[in-house]
């Protein structure tokens, strides 16, 4: 019997699960079980199955590394894509478990599974231009789960859609120049010409200043777990595209202006996000700005260059994902029970929802890079890496972290207020236990930041950028 090729499994399984969850979307427990089981299995397959030979899964032979040709395109799972997909599927499993207890809208399960299938396609495609279009298609689908049936504001979804779609022309232009430079290796000018549109495209996609306004708008409008899905898996795929581009055009990586430009962009993002975070009046926007600051730090880490820089970037990506998940889970409980996340309406809520309050604070502090939290180790490494730059850089980074902390303290002050909200129901048990588990992970990562170092180093080697 012919073994099943890995790419087929990665593409078809989420799509099948999406169809099934769409049918059972009214029963959250069933939809969550189907979704989390699918992504959990896929994450395990990505972590365990070898690419160079077949393996048996539930009695069926699966050739995970075998390429397939669909519509004339070669789909191959390489080690880098395998690691990336393992991360994304594992993260999605967490989101589905949380969404089981705190509703994120009925469209979340089926649409996110289709999006995950598209992310798998991006990782499998060998053509940058097609991968970019597929990413944009995934964004158009994300709009349906961002809006999730709520009627109030469409700003977050619209801005997210706009920046991604605007990036497409730039990427296609860059890809065309890239192809020309590969066709004519003697003409280095073509490769240089790919840099400007690519920089603009990645600027839009990675929310680089001033294109980052969609992040707080999205965090304010969308259900928190949907926001976390986009901030973690979506932005991880954007980073994957950036790495794929740099792998195809090593010239971009070796250009002296590239790391400086990336670092400057990261610094400005962190600074602007920190300032804005300190003056917010609701946890949704605060979440968006804190994630923006953390993304800025991620770019700073990447800008330090070399394989160490990439290792730091990927470690920060994992820590950031855990922190965002914790913050989103706590925020989801808060919005569900208190029906608002505006500071003005949260008086006394901390007493009714102590675990959600702790989750919000800890998640926020982890995104700010505070000691004893997941964010600290990588943020500290970034501070040290930029210490060669003018001292103002370190000061700006510290100030941006302080900005998040100020925003959190203002929120906490409101939640501890003297006007008790008796209408707020008691905290949900299972969802609160999940928050506690995530909080424990955030603290454990604060004490053992090297926990994911080995798989991250393998992923860095697989990318073979340096």
């Amino acid at each position: 019997m012919t073994p099943i090729p890995g790419p087929i499994v990665l593409l078809a399984l989420p799509l099948l699960a999406a169809s099934a969850t769409y049918l059972v979307r009214r029963w959250a427990i069933l939809a969550a079980f189907l979704s989390s089981a699918t992504t959990g299995v896929l994450a395990i397959l990505c972590l365990r199955l070898p690419l160079d030979r077949s393996a048996f899964v539930l009695g069926r032979e699966v050739a995970f590394g075998r390429p397939v040709v669909i519509l004339g395109r070669n789909l191959i799972l390489d080690p880098a894509s395998q690691a990336w997909l393992a991360f994304i599927f594992a993260l999605a499993t967490l989101f589905y478990l949380i969404a089981w207890r705190v509703s994120q809208g009925r469209s979340f399960f089926p649409f996110s599974l289709v999006i995950l299938s598209l992310y798998a396609l991006i990782a499998l495609l060998q053509t940058f231009a097609l991968a970019v279009i597929v990413f944009a298609i995934s964004t158009t689908l994300a709009v349906f789960m961002i809006q999730g049936g709520q009627r109030s504001s469409v700003r977050g979804a619209q801005r997210y859609l706009l920046v991604t779609l605007l990036a497409v022309p730039f990427f296609l232009a860059a890809a065309w120049f890239m192809d020309q430079s590969l066709l004519h290796p003697d003409n280095a000018e073509m490769a240089y010409r790919a840099l400007l549109p690519a920089a603009l495209g990645f600027g839009l996609l990675l929310a680089i200043f001033p294109f980052g306004t969609w992040m707080p708008a999205l965090a304010a409008d969308a259900p928190p777990i949907v926001t976390a899905f986009i901030f973690t898996t979506g932005q991880a795929m954007a980073l994957f595209l950036a790495l794929a581009f740099l792998r195809d055009i090593p010239l971009a990586l070796n250009h002296p202006a590239t790391p400086a430009a990336i670092q400057l962009a990261g610094l400005v993002m962190a600074a602007s996000g920190g300032v804005m975070a300190s003056v917010q009046r609701d946890f949704g926007r605060l979440f968006g700005y804190a994630a923006l600051v953390s993304l800025g730090v991620l770019l700073l880490a990447f800008g330090t260059g070399g394989s160490q820089g990439l290792t730091l970037t990927l470690l920060h990506m994992i820590n950031r994902a855990v922190s965002i998940t914790l913050l989103a889970a706590a925020l989801a409980i808060l919005r569900h029970q208190a029906t608002t996340d505006g500071f003005a309406g949260l008086g006394g809520v901390a007493r009714r929802l102590p675990i959600a309050t702790v989750g919000l604070m800890l998640g926020g502090l982890a995104l700010a890079g505070f000691p004893l939290t997941a964010g600290f180790a990588t943020d500290w490494a970034v501070y040290r890496a930029v210490s060669a730059e003018p001292w103002t850089w370190t000061l700006i980074l510290l100030a941006s972290s302080a900005g998040i902390a100020i925003g959190l303290l203002r929120g906490l002050n409101a939640m501890l207020g003297t006007d008790p909200r008796d209408d707020v129901a008691r905290q949900p048990v299972i969802a609160s236990l999940m928050v506690l588990a995530l909080a424990a992970v955030v603290i454990i990562l604060g004490f053992y930041p090297q926990l994911f170092l080995k798989p991250v180093q393998s992923a860095v080697q697989a990318f073979s950028l340096f």
Binding site: V134, V143, R151, L162, V168, P169
Partner: protein
């Protein structure tokens, strides 16, 4: 047969380019969805027509069909939103020209500002293409459009559509005004890109993206329409 072929070849030249300039202008200027969607429809037909100079007729027809479907999606949505909207009734009293509010109450984003923006964009583009190689006029050179062998009129009209779409995005907030502006940008880009990239896979995926973008904007427009509607379907029913 020869005559119709000659006419077709003629139409795909200057008339198509001139028509595209006008449609870009109309989409930016009007706030009436009927007019803007009609202009968008004509724009897709003209783009298909202009593209017959560079790509196979079948590909051009597919692009026209995708455009027509996108406009149809937006048209159905706009009709539904109009039925739901109360604000339309509230605005009936204000003076209108070309679908735009022209009175002082029209605010900073009304017709006078848009006319001024058109003037600035036109001057900018003319300088971009004819002026000395200063930092601004070097923009086409930066993107190397001149050296790619794309016809200059196509390059100009692609930049024109891109610029009109971009300023339209900046000055608009509602999904039903943002969607035509964004689709204009994508169509303008496609006009230049299709003559360079022959891959059918790219054509197919780009078409799918255009359709899904129209669908996503339609969903957002409906969601926004429901928020202003006094009696829409309940929250869960609005979900896909």
């Amino acid at each position: 047969m020869q005559e119709s072929s000659d006419l077709f070849a003629f139409m795909s030249g200057v008339p198509a380019v001139a028509g595209l300039i006008l449609t870009g202008l109309t989409i930016f200027l009007t706030s009436d969805w009927r007019l803007s969607l009609t202009a968008l429809l004509i724009q897709y037909v003209l783009i298909g027509l202009a593209l017959t100079r560079f790509v196979q007729a079948e590909v051009a027809i597919v692009k026209i069909l995708i455009g027509v479907l996108s406009v149809f999606i937006l048209y159905l949505t706009a009709r539904r939103v109009q039925e739901m909207s109360e604000s339309q009734q509230a605005e009936r009293g204000t003076p209108r020209f070309f679908g735009l509010h022209v009175g002082w109450a029209a605010g900073p984003l009304g017709l006078p500002l848009r006319l001024l923006v058109i003037l600035l964009v036109t001057l900018g583009l003319v300088r971009l293409f004819n002026g000395p190689r200063t930092s601004l006029s070097a923009l086409p050179a930066l993107f190397a459009v001149e050296s790619l062998g794309v016809s200059p009129d196509i390059v100009f009209v692609a930049f024109w559509l891109g610029s009109m779409g971009m300023v339209g995005l900046v000055l608009s907030d509602e999904p039903l005004r943002v969607a035509p502006a964004l689709l204009t940008i994508l169509a303008g880009f496609d006009l230049g890109y299709a003559s360079l990239e022959p891959s059918l896979a790219i054509v197919g995926f780009f078409g799918a993206l255009t359709l899904l973008a129209a669908l996503a904007f339609s969903y957002l427009a409906i969601a926004q329409g429901l928020s202003t509607s006094p009696a829409g379907p309940d929250e869960e029913e609005a979900e896909p």
